[in-house]
């Protein structure tokens, strides 16, 4: 698998992780 793609997947993972953490911190507000 090309290194560039794998690097992109790592970035994607970090971003998703950060998003999940922030969602956990602030909770999912539902009306």
């Amino acid at each position: 698998m090309p290194g560039k793609l794998i690097k992109y997947w790592e970035e994607k993972h970090k971003k998703n992780n950060a998003k999940n953490k922030s969602q956990k911190k602030f909770g999912n507000k539902k009306k």
Binding site: M1, P2, G3, K4, L5, Y8, E10, E11
Partner: protein, 221 residues
Amino acid sequence: MKLPKLVSEIKKFFLQDNNIIGSYERVVKINNRFLKKKENFNGMIAGSWAIEAVSGHKIEHDDIDLIIFSDLCFYIDDAITNEEHCCNVIPLPIHYLKEKAVKTNLRGELEVYVPDLTLQYCLKIIGQLEKEFPEKAVVQSVDLFSAYKNPNYKEIKNEIIFILKRCTPADFNVKNVAKDMIFAIKSYKLKDFESMKVYLKKAHRKINDSLHKKFKELRLE
């Protein structure tokens, strides 16, 4: 990123093992030493070795690709060039990868786990970063298509969408590409190899354009 213990051990093994990169002897060693765990498996053989396992066609191998099960699953290979060597997370959840692991025999003697046909098909298309879909990848796609017996296209399409959503940029139109990928399998089954190639290349170009655009944004190229 901290590597799972098993991934570190395999990386160390790649540096020390005397067998040729991508060789069958190395596959046997890795499988028996690291992947096999009593009745269970710690990971799967992926890439060209997985294609050989499901199709039964002997093919040439440049490297050995592995998917290692862990809280975060890893994709790792034994290639040595910077272009091709990889060791990093694969953005698919462990429960999904375990569910899609298929037990099969390599060269009629080695019991291995490999990704199911659709996961292999998706990874084959996503993994080609060249402008044109290489002829070698077309041949390997044909090997995968030949292994589909009575394909359930609805299920395959749903699986393609699930994988592409997680492995390609968020703004990418996965449903549209999933259709092309399904048409490629259908064309193969109808022995319409010209159309099969057209759909394969169409799907590859769309995924590839979207990935390269993202790479530029992230300054990966």
